[in-house]
Structures are given as structure tokens and as C-alpha cells.
Symmetry: C2
Subunit: 370 residues, 2 copies
């Protein structure tokens, strides 16, 4: 019952989260140190070359299913580690608030499910939740902390992209639009704006698809980053694909620019965005995502195999990945080309179309990018 | 402007925080593991006998000075490490929310001060804040995460009290009463209940004293725990002295009981509690504390020297510590004797009386306990 008001219910972004306010990449004698500018912080330890890598994220529920919300919150926290190519997590803390507006029965129904979702996702990630805190608050809060002690080879500093790399994205965009469209089913003046381009059933399917995607761990992608020699990565969350691409570009050691040609988007979400007058800036890449995919800079010759292995990986459950752009020489900036190709990513509920694979669904061959 | 309603504004306790719901002490092959039952969790790592010790705490402001509030929040998080005898912290994350009811000017005045207080306390503790998140919320939230990677000798598992130990407390009780009394200065019907036993000036002094105590790091006490061979410790927060004493007793390997004879309380707070009809249960030990002292089980022959060194320690700034009880044979429970001795701890603002040292202020000799 408690969700902050406003259209950006789909955004899990905190003010100041992952901003470059304090963050910078500095090298110290003991090892690399990464401040607040990127997804996780990296703290050199006093013990034999080890580093503490940790991250925190908490936000307000954006889906109605408490169990899925718990899974999404956990996947979202872990994603900051996965963006560094880290596949293990030593411990998670859970951060929760119970809404003071919930009665006892609601609490007893909702909170255990949310906690179970969080714990189940942690277990799927091979870690566990030991510690945390719960407070009473007007709104429900769910989030956590993920920490791991790493050897130098366990993580990939997100600063080594070179011209000629390609950009790969491991989940489709459009979670914010899908979540909001689902809320608009019950708000006639909102629904009237989009009902010409989508049916109620499709909204329901898109919402389910968004939930599935948000609850999916980026762990397979993190493991494949090592196998295919990734040069840098980040995860796509509150600032949208272009915001996170820019942030990643700014962290690079080399003079590079990221150029995005393709936008894989949950089917019909681009149409909704257009019908609503470019809602959330989805096609400009500014629409918030929650627990989005990894955006990875990969050597060109490795990227297609990365995508193929993502799809075939047992652990990946046939997750898709798309080559969405290129790394050029440039001024540590990022942009989307004028008329990006929209890749309509079908709902997995609609098994037939997913298996048939439309042109729009196939990973584009690299040659299309240049 | 944003503080949760209700009389227990002085409580920083989260629901489920430090409860024994999931927590238990279990030994695993790799090293000791400590779950949610106690102050910090201890996670054995894959690297050469090292453990990750971490804790989180966040709550709502309870004092009006944003800078002091930041310091208190930081001291409160670190206190969970100090309770394990840990003196170092590798990293802190800051957890914040900005109240949506604050205007831009208020935000720009309040939040930087609160963050500065938090950072300054972290610096005083020899650590730093790298990472965190800020969200918008109806209420202001402030808190953090403290993490450290330890060798086995760096921490003291809180489970080895033996009959004959004594109990030492390193900060006076009464922070909740002091904070609330200060709020009541502006609420006539509340003030009328207590004005016969305390003056407005004394309330102001008690409030300042409570703030100073809450902002004081328990780091000196943590270091002295090693020097004087402490057997177990916890920090006193939301469940009051008796709640945390019980929780600590339940964690013990030996059949022990904790018996509390003396209650060191910020001067006049006991009188207020009585005048208000046993407000908050201060004299029963149930009144919440925020960032309270450590409750430490020490060998009897070491305790007086522990207290003396606390007072003389340069780092300790002349912090006091009191022997407040004994460890007997028993059933892992804790109690306060029928008529505990109230030790009136003077305000440090009132330098003269503090130096003169009343009988009530002196650390009681051990013989008084038995």
C-alpha cells in the first residue's frame, strides 16, 4: 500500500547514489581503490593484497508481489558486484522498513514474503544474509548491502575500454515503462493515452517480463566478463542506459567515447513511450531501470561469443544479451545515435514468438554497427 | 522537522535489530561464525583464517543538531564493532534519507552538516566513508554500515563470561529521558509533570551531556577489552541495559547469570523518570539508549584497572566506566537487584562538581557488589 507518489515509481535510484560527487579512481600503493563514483567501492586491506568490495542499495517497492520485490532488491544490490566481474559474495545485510500504515495482518503477510524473496535470491547467488536492520517508516523500504573480500584477479576495474571495443547489454530496457503502464491500468486518464498501442493483456505480460528481468541475477554475465576479457562494465539502473554509459565513459583511462546504435526494449514499451509523448525518455536512454542489465565493454572479436554463451549458459537460463554499440576514440562521453534501432524483446510468456525469433529479436551482427 | 511521533523519540532501535530471531552462535570448521543475535556478524572468509565482521544501524534523528546527529549515528554503528573488541574499521557506508518535507534551503543546511558529523566521527575512528546511498523519504534517516576484515585475535567472541566476573558499563544511562525531557520544555502538559524535580537549565545541560555521550566512540573501551582480558561484551542501545544484558547472557557458553547492582545515570534523569511515573522504565533498565556504552564482562581482578585506564586514557578523554554488577552461576539470564544504587553522573558542563566527585560519582569499590 505504500509507494512514494509520482510517475517515477519505477526508479530505484537514490539521490547521490553512484554519483561522482566524491568518487574517483585513484591508485594507491596497496592496490586499486575505487570510490563512490562507480557501482561498488574497492578498499585495499591490510592483509596480503586482498580488497574489500562492497555496495549498498535500498529503495521503495515498485511491484505488487512482495516475494518478487524481495528477489529484485537482492538482485539489484548484487548487480553492483557483478558489474565488477565479481561472481561471489561473502555476506549480505538486509535493510528493511515496515510501513506504519500497514496493519498487523498486512505486515505478517507482506514482510516475510519480501524477506524470503531476498533470501532466496541470495541463496541462488551462492551467498547468504547475515545481519541487517528493520525500522518502522511511513513507506516500505527494501534493500541491502553486499560485501566480498577479493584477490586482485577476482574483479575487473571498470576503466580499460579501448577504441574498437563493442558495448554489450545483458537485459532489455523498459522496466520503468512496464511498471508504470501496469499501474495505469487502474487510472483511466493515464490508460486512455496508451490504450491505442497496447492491450491490457500485453501490459500484464510486459509487467511480468519486467519483473522476471529485474529479479534475474547478472551473475552469469559477471563470470563471462572474465572468460571474454571485458575491459569495463557497469549496471544499468536509475540513470537509464545513457546516464550509466556516460558515467562509465568518464571513468576510462583511455580517450574513448561510447556510441549506442541499438536499444533492446521490452516489447511494446517503445510504443507506449511514444504514445505518451516520449514517456520517461525511454528512446533517449534516460528512462530509469531497476536491477537492469550489465553494460559491458568487450573486445569486438569476443562479443558475439559472449552473447552466444549468455544464451546457452545453464546458469543463465537462456538470458539474452545484445551488442548495442561501439567504443570510439573520444572525450569520455556517451551518446545514442539519431535513429537508434529498436529491438523489440518479446515476452517470455509468449514462448512461440520467442523461439521463432523475429529479426528484431536476433542479436545484430557486429557489421551493422559500423 | 521530521521526527517520528511518539514518546520514544529517544529510541534508535529498529524492529528486529539485534534480536535473536535468526541469530545463534555456531562453530564452523573455518572459524567462529556469529549470526544476527549479537551486535555484529562474523563471516569466515576463504582467505587464510580471516573473518569479515560487519554491522549496520540506521534510525531517525533524535537531537536537533545535525552535526551531532551525524556523529552519533556514526558512533552508534561503530559501537557494534567495538563491542567485539575490534578497534579498527576498514570501511563505512553511509545510509541517508532526505525528508521530502524539507525545502531546498533546509536540505542544503541540514544534510551536509549531518554528513560532516558522520565523516568526522569516522575519521576520529581511523576509518573513512566510501560508499552509501541517499533516498527521499517522509522522515530523515541516518545510519551506516561498518565492515572490517579481521584476524582471529582481533575480535573477542561475546560468549565466555564465567561466574566471578564483574560487569562494567562505559557510559551512563538516561539518554532517552534526557532527549525527551528536552523536547518537553516546549510541551506544557509534559513539562508540568517534571518541573518540580529539574530546572530548565538542568534539562539543557542533561541534553548536552547525553549528546556528548552518544557521540563518544567506544573505541578506547574496545582496546582495553584486550588489555584486561574481557570475556564478553555488548553495547547498550534500544533494548536498554537489561534487554542487552539478557541478550548477552543468552549467548554465553557457561551457566551464568548477570546481576546488576548499580545504575550510573545522567544526573537528575532518575528523578525525572520517577516524577513521570517511572518514565520509560529507566530504573528497571528498559529505557532505550542510543549509542550507549559497552557492557563488559571482565575478570574481577582486572575491572578496577580497566575503569582507571578508561579515565586516564588520552584517547578516552577521561571517559568514566563503572562496575555495575556481577556474573554468578545461573541460567543465562540477567536481572537488576531490587533497590539498585543510582549513581548520579554529573554533567561535564558542571566542571566543579565533576572534579569534586561526590560519593555517587565515584566508581564503587568491588566489595560493595557482593
Amino acid at each position: 500500500p505504500d509507494r512514494p507518489p509520482g510517475e517515477d515509481g519505477g526508479s530505484g535510484t537514490g539521490v547521490g547514489d553512484e554519483t561522482a560527487e566524491f568518487g574517483q579512481l585513484v591508485s594507491v600503493a596497496q592496490g586499486p581503490r575505487l570510490g563512490i563514483g562507480m557501482d561498488s567501492c574497492v578498499i585495499p586491506l591490510r592483509h596480503g593484497g586482498l580488497s574489500l568490495v562492497q555496495t549498498t542499495d535500498f529503495f521503495y517497492p515498485l511491484v505488487e508481489d512482495p516475494y518478487m520485490m524481495g528477489r529484485i532488491a537482492c538482485a539489484n544490490v548484487l548487480s553492483d558486484l557483478y558489474a565488477m566481474g565479481i561472481t561471489e559474495c561473502d555476506n549480505m545485510l538486509m535493510l528493511l522498513s515496515i510501513s506504519q500504515k500497514m496493519n498487523e495482518k498486512e505486515r505478517d503477510q507482506v514482510m516475510p514474503l519480501m524477506m524470503k524473496g531476498f533470501r532466496d535470491a541470495a541463496e541462488e547467488a551462492g551467498t547468504s544474509v547475515t545481519g541487517g536492520q528493520t525500522v518502522i517508516n511511513p513507506w516500505i523500504i527494501v534493500g541491502g548491502v553486499a560485501s566480498v573480500v577479493c584477490q586482485p584477479n577476482d574483479f575487473i576495474m571498470p576503466d580499460s575500454a579501448i577504441p574498437g571495443d563493442v558495448l554489450v547489454l545483458t537485459k532489455p530496457l523498459g522496466t520503468q515503462v512496464a511498471v508504470n503502464a501496469h499501474q495505469w491500468l487502474d487510472i483511466p486518464e493515464k490508460w486512455n493515452k496508451i490504450k491505442l498501442v497496447i492491450s491490457r493483456e500485453e501490459v500484464e505480460q510486459a509487467y511480468q517480463e519486467a519483473m522476471l528481468n529485474m529479479a534475474t541475477l547478472n551473475r552469469t554475465a559477471a563470470a563471462l566478463m572474465h572468460k571474454f576479457n571485458a575491459h569495463a562494465a557497469t549496471d544499468v539502473t536509475g540513470f537509464g542506459i545513457i546516464g550509466h554509459a556516460r558515467n562509465l565513459a568518464q571513468q576510462q583511462k583511455n580517450n574513448v567515447a561510447f556510441v549506442i546504435h541499438n536499444l533492446p526494449i521490452i516489447s511494446k514499451m517503445a510504443a507506449i513511450s511514444k504514445a505518451g509523448g516520449n514517456l520517461f525518455g525511454l528512446l533517449q536512454g534516460t528512462s530509469s531501470e531497476t536491477s537492469g542489465g550489465l553494460l559491458i565493454c568487450l573486445p569486438r572479436e569476443q562479443a558475439a561469443r559472449f552473447c552466444a554463451e549468455m544464451k546457452s549458459s545453464r546458469a543463465g537460463d537462456g538470458q539474452q544479451a545484445w551488442i548495442i554499440g561501439i567504443v570510439e576514440k573520444g572525450n569520455r562521453c556517451a551518446r545514442i545515435i539519431d535513429k537508434p534501432r529498436i529491438i523489440e524483446v518479446p515476452y517470455r510468456g509468449s514462448v512461440v514468438s520467442a523461439q521463432e525469433g523475429s529479426n528484431n529479436n536476433a542479436s545484430p551482427p557486429e557489421v551493422q554497427l559500423t
